[in-house]
């Protein structure tokens, strides 16, 4: 059994499989397919789908719903992520489990609504004030869209933070033939809730407190301001420092748990290709087509950077090639891990995809 479907459909299936019962979004190409499918399908399962009056409204609704007990998702593209910015910070500060789909298109600004890009890879990482970690997963194809959407919901629950599904126009809008067993039922991610104790316990820093839902049990508070473990606003320096170290440590201390990647190791390979998202297909083809052995790394958990796994893959390598549909945004993460190795980019920002041949030329 095979199906001919697009990534938007796979993302919606993944969300429903993961127990998503709240969606809010605003029309924007190339993410509108997710909005339309959610508006059609979610009410049939008893969930709520709302088309907001803009992106600020859409993510705001998701934050409210998530803190009241829903499993929430929103979807947009670069201009919409720009409007999400303040609320991404609110979700980080309020430790809100939330899945945000970014279907990347060429920027900046309006850019190219139907033009593929990977220009948001650093933007989702640093897209709100303050500079705290987020998690981002990057599907390479339609089947990945399903699997990684479920995983994004798991990680959102596990770490109580916004998790990005960093996709792009081609992966989401281009239908592909997919084996039906790509859509096996996956367990609904566990949720740990509590209605007694401190709702935002942040000592020890790396632990994640159980979700205390607003309006359940104790009078749970919520704030975007610096706060203590009860969400009471504070100006007490040591408390503020403990809070902020917690917001970073709960993600940074669990990189291995979050890491998702494929490592194609080849005996005798001195060149490693590092790709993510839509370029993964060209990376795999380049490895196959090459006359000499090439190693490859497909990074699915782009944030936090899986540094140990990348360092492991760099063993025995003296040249790294990083193909990206931007001017080398993720390459800088590889460069800081690569030591003295030569790191070269293969970069396109003209709306076309990178071909295996272009990658092979850079490996020579």
């Amino acid at each position: 059994m095979r199906e001919y479907i697009d990534g938007a459909t796979a993302i919606v299936r993944g969300a429903l499989a993961a127990g998503c019962d709240f969606f809010a979004g605003y029309p924007i190409t190339p993410a509108s397919g997710i909005l339309m499918a959610m508006m059609r399908d979610l009410p049939r399962t008893g969930g709520v789908a709302i088309q907001g009056e803009d992106e600020i409204a859409s993510i705001g609704m998701c934050i409210g719903a998530a803190m009241a007990g829903s499993r929430a998702m929103t979807a947009t593209s670069g201009p919409g992520i720009s409007l999400y910015s303040e609320n991404i910070g609110l979700a980080i500060m309020g430790e809100v489990p939330l899945v945000i789909v970014d279907v990347q298109r060429l920027g900046p600004a309006t850019g190219g609504a139907t033009t593929v890009s990977q220009g948001d890879v650093q933007f989702v990482r640093w897209g709100t004030a303050g500079g705290y970690p987020i998690i981002a997963l990057c599907p390479t194809d339609v089947a990945d869209c399903y699997r990684l959407t479920v995983r994004a919901f798991e990680l959102a629950e596990r770490f109580r933070c916004p998790v990005f599904l960093l996709t792009d126009k081609e992966v989401v809008m281009t239908p592909a033939t997919v084996a039906a067993d790509a859509f096996v039922p996956l367990p609904v991610p566990e949720r740990t809730t509590a209605d007694t104790g401190l709702p935002y316990e942040f000592v020890p820093a790396g632990d994640v407190p159980a979700l205390h839902l607003i309006g359940d049990g104790a009078a749970v508070r919520f704030t975007g301001s610096t706060h203590d473990e009860g969400a009471f606003i504070t100006k007490h320096g040591p408390t503020i420092e403990a809070l902020n170290r917690h917001l970073a440590a709960k993600v940074d201390d669990h990189v291995a748990e979050i890491t998702m990647m494929d490592h194609i190791a080849q005996a005798g390979a001195a060149t490693l290709i590092v790709g993510y998202g839509v370029t993964a297909g060209a990376v795999a083809s380049a490895v196959e087509l090459s006359d000499s052995p090439l190693a490859a790394l497909i990074v699915r958990s782009v944030w936090p950077v899986p540094e140990e796994a990348i360092r492991d893959a760099l063993a025995g390598i003296d040249r790294v090639v990083v193909p990206e549909l931007n001017l080398g945004l993720y390459r800088r993460e590889i460069e800081r891990l690569a030591g003295d190795r030569e790191v070269v980019g293969v970069n396109r920002i003209d709306g076309d995809l990178i071909s295996p041949q272009q990658i092979l030329e850079a490996t020579a």
């Binding site: 029309p27 509108s32 909005l35 339309m36 508006m39």
Partner: protein
């Protein structure tokens, strides 16, 4: 009312508009009246595509493509800077219903409240047509769109944007449609002449692909919208003085308007909802006539 309209064109033929696009027809006619000194500010909307890529762009006036939520405020900035230099162009913010009723409303409200010296034109095709027919708050009750599927059509009436603008007491606000070109031309002339403050034009603009109808029915659909009192043509001065400019003459029923368009299939199939919509149309028309008559009684009172 002056007719015919000026011969000078500021929009070239061969745009990327769909056949029968009310938005394209509206732009052509409005620019004839505004003239060559216009500066257009376009947020994300069909017109950000219709204008076309170089060298096939359609408009021969300066065009500022801006972010979705910023038509009114970017127009405000342009006008302020031009005024400081002693120049007086007509700055026209030209937005769809999404960029007016939804994401653009905050900026529009701010500009209206400050009484900015701009002309804001909303060409209203009653959904997000450019991104694939998603509902907006301008979508009327009972409508199918891709986000209000047939099993759950739009449940709520269209947002009363003219009421919102009147509540801001803007100097001039008017509804119009290219199906009544003389009325539209006159209102554009009035708006352009009313320099110094906020002017708002609400243009019903048929969208054959989104309204699910034949392209050659676009003008007839807009005409029937007026005749069936779904989209009355009127103007409001200072938020108080209402004047109905085109009185329905033909005996056009609501169903005659709805049945031209496939998007109203769910409404026509739901007798209860249809009755509610009919009652709503009648009530709104009655209120408008009352306001019109009330405004006539006030003439000469020195208010």
């Amino acid at each position: 009312m002056r007719w015919p309209v000026p011969e000078a064109e500021h929009m070239d033929p061969g745009t990327l508009g769909c056949q029968g696009c009310g938005g394209a027809l509206s732009m052509r006619l409005v620019l004839k009246e505004v003239g060559p000194d216009a500066i257009a500010v376009l947020p994300a909307c069909c017109w950000s595509i219709i204008d076309g890529p170089w060298p096939l762009h359609a408009l021969d006036i300066p065009v500022f493509h801006t972010a979705f939520e910023t038509a009114a405020v970017v127009a405000t900035g342009i006008k302020a800077a031009k005024a400081m230099k002693g120049e007086d162009p007509t700055v026209v913010a030209w937005a769809g219903d999404g960029g007016t009723f939804d994401i653009g409303l905050q900026a529009l409200s701010g500009a209206a409240e400050r009484n900015e010296d701009i002309v804001f034109v909303c060409y209203d095709n009653e959904a997000y047509m450019n991104t694939g027919i998603q509902r907006s708050s301008a979508t009327p009750a009972g409508t199918w769109t891709t986000t209000t599927p047939e099993e759950r059509p739009e449940p709520r009436p269209k947002k009363d944007i003219m009421g919102i603008m009147a509540a801001h007491r803007v100097p001039y606000a008017a509804t119009a449609t290219v199906a009544y070109p003389g009325d539209l031309a006159h209102k554009v002339q009035t708006a352009v002449a009313a320099k110094g403050g906020m002017r708002f034009l609400h243009l019903l603009s048929a969208c054959p692909p989104g309204w699910k109808m034949a392209a050659d029915q676009a003008i007839e659909a807009m005409r029937r919208a007026v005749q069936a009192r779904v989209f009355p043509l009127y103007e409001v001065r200072d938020g108080r003085d209402y004047t109905i400019t085109v009185w329905p003459e033909r005996n056009v029923r609501l169903e005659d308007y709805l049945s031209l368009q496939g998007r109203f299939t769910p409404l026509l199939a739901d007798q209860d909802m249809l009755e509610r919509v009919k009652a709503d149309v009648a009530e709104r028309w009655r209120l408008l006539v009352e306001r019109h008559e009330h405004s006539r009684r006030l003439v000469g009172t020195g208010r």
